[in-house]
Amino acid sequence: MSLDAKTVTRIARLARIGLQPEEVETLGQDMSSIINWVEQLKEVDVTGVDPMIGTGLAKPRLREDRVTDGNCRDKVLSNAPEREGPFYTVPKVVE
């Protein structure tokens, strides 16, 4: 299977990665070659096999309902590329 430009563009849009037209082509070729290679998993009989979720080693653990964090706005905003007072800012989002 080969990924066409339309598909690559759609995926890139989902992943919010802007692509140049020439990238669409080269990335498309690389992706196709990788996707074709992973197709070999189709040979494996997975009937009745449960998908793996985690390694099954850790025990489920729940946190106590206590406020132990937060109140650290300076840290939260410490690396903001752009901010206004106590807020992060982004280009205006039109609803």
Binding site: R13, L14, R16, I53, G54, A58, K59, P60, R61, L62, R63, E64, D65, R66, V67, T68, D69, G70, N71, C72, R73, K75, V76, L77, E84, G85, P86, F87, Y88, T89, V90, P91, K92, V93, E95
Partner: protein, 485 residues
């Protein structure tokens, strides 16, 4: 009677399902230790986990799980001992990690139900499909700057329960009744405060229409984020109307997300946002599957408070109040508690009359809620006791209640201070009546001549003379005796 909308081609039935997002009552957020409290200075109830900093990891809050289980029990739902958290991937300014942690494939709560009471006195069962836990997003503020939106993450990561109903709702009224009942249950159990103004309850409304008798559903539209019961009911009406017009004009309804504009009274398509969505759900590898023990569920069940339906029935049986009175008293747990405090040790029927009448009127007048009522349950009980033991009569009691609201004094203190104690001394009553009769000789003659209606006049005159304090039964009795002399 079924709700129908009449279009140009005949009658239509509406089919509605609701997805309610209810904010879980908890101290801390679903996956971080930051405060879940509403309000707060912007970006202060935020941990680096909530802000999606590199290397930060989620750890599940036990109380949020307990709250979901309690709610499930309140909805008489299946409790899934195995559930799982998935990532719902999409980019948005107030979603710091680029994904929302939610339960997509394996929710913690399965099928349940809500019994709703309708205005005509009938009851309907609305099915609940599922309830799952998920994170809330932050808030984008659009009106502070002409070119930029501001981001406040205080809400980001707060626990929500998404409660999905079956498409069982057939009228705006049923939708309203379902939401009110659901909110009542959540508030009873204490899992959500149900405050729609603060956004702690909001609904996505799925609406479709069909001809009566059709068994298949037609295409539905989802109206997102409606934040009051009234707006939900309005939105259903206008959206159903719109869809009927589309079908009747020979068109087809597109499955899409819409927005309700209550000012213009219409729904609008949000299609532009829709086509790019592909949420790519997959199990969150930072979290383990959520496995809970049946014994824990049993413990939570045992500790559950009495639910609205059970309480309503019990009040009817225990206190002999009517179904209507009982359902009004059970609207809020605090009201029912208040009532029971009054009714225990007083005349329970009298207590219901007074609460639904003068007491609620006093609350309304003063703008107070039951929690900060100017008159305590014990205070009201004392007042009713004074009626029952004939210390005062009902009319005087109304005056005493007003005084209690105003001054905060106890009923007996007011009765003493104002000298309102009822007169039961037959001698005093007799002499008051004799004076009235003597002053109204002509009317006495008329009465004796057969004009029975004048009896009320003599009662009124006597009570007036006694400043309302005469014992009504004794006044009546004595009057009859003296008039027949």
């Amino acid at each position: 009677m079924s709700y129908r909308i009449t279009g140009s081609t005949g009658e239509w039935e509406i089919v509605v399902g609701l997805e309610v997002h209810a904010q879980v009552v908890s101290e801390a957020k679903l996956f971080s230790g930051a405060s879940a409290e509403y309000g707060g200075e912007p970006n202060t109830h935020v941990s680096l986990v909530d802000a999606g900093f590199p290397g930060m990891l989620p750890v599940l809050n036990q109380e949020c799980v307990a709250q979901a289980v309690r709610t499930g029990l309140g909805l008489e739902a299946e409790i899934n001992l195995f559930s799982r958290f998935d990532r719902k991937n999409y980019f948005y300014a107030d979603l710091p990690t680029g994904y929302q942690i939610s339960q997509f494939a394996h929710p913690i709560i399965g099928k349940g139900k809500v019994l709703v009471d309708l205005a005509d006195g009938s009851t309907r069962e609305i099915g609940v499909t599922r309830l799952h836990l998920e994170q809330d997003a932050g808030k984008s503020i659009h009106d502070q700057d002409p070119t930029r939106s501001f981001i406040d993450l205080n809400r980001a990561g707060v626990a929500l329960m998404e409660i999905v109903s079956e498409p069982d709702i057939r009228s705006p009224e049923e939708a309203g009744a379902y939401l009110r009942k659901l909110r009542q249950i959540l508030r009873y159990i204490g899992t959500c405060d149900g405050n729609m103004e603060e956004g702690s309850m909001r609904a996505d409304v799925n609406v479709s229409v069909r001809k009566p008798g059709e068994t298949e559903y037609r295409t539905r539209c989802e109206i997102k984020n409606v934040n009051s019961i009234r707006f939900v009911m309005m939105a259903i009406e206008v959206e159903a109307q719109r869809q009927i017009e589309v079908w009747e004009a020979g068109g087809t309804v597109d499955q899409e997300t819409r927005l309700f504009d209550h000012v213009r009274g219409e729904t609008r398509s949000l299609r532009s946002k829709e086509d790019a969505h592909d949420y790519r759900y997959f199990p969150d590898p930072d979290l383990l599957p959520l496995v809970i023990e049946q014994s824990w569920v049993d413990e939570l069940k045992a500790a559950l408070p009495e639910l609205p339906e059970a309480k309503r029935l019990r009040l009817e049986q225990e206190y002999g109040v009517s179904r209507y009175e009982s359902s009004v008293l059970c609207v809020e747990q605090a009201i029912a508690d208040f009532y029971e405090t009054v009714a225990r040790g007083a005349d329970a029927r009298l207590a219901a009359n007074w609460m639904l009448g003068d007491f609620f009127a006093a609350l309304n007048r003063t703008g107070r809620s039951i929690e900060d009522s100017p008159v305590s349950a014990e205070g009201l009980r004392e007042l009713l006791g004074l009626i029952s033991d004939s210390t005062i009569n009902g009319k005087i009691a109304k005056e005493v209640l007003e005084d209690m609201v105003e001054t905060g004094d106890s009923a007996s203190a007011i009765v003493e201070r104002k000298g309102l104690r009822q007169v039961t001394d037959t001698g005093a009553i007799e002499s008051a009546i004799r004076e009235i009769l003597a002053a109204n000789n002509d009317k006495v003659e008329e009465y004796r001549g057969g004009k029975d209606k004048l009896f009320g006049f003599f009662v009124g005159q006597t009570m007036k003379a006694m400043k309302g304090k005469g014992n009504p039964a004794l006044v009546n009795e004595t009057l009859k005796k003296l008039l027949s002399e």
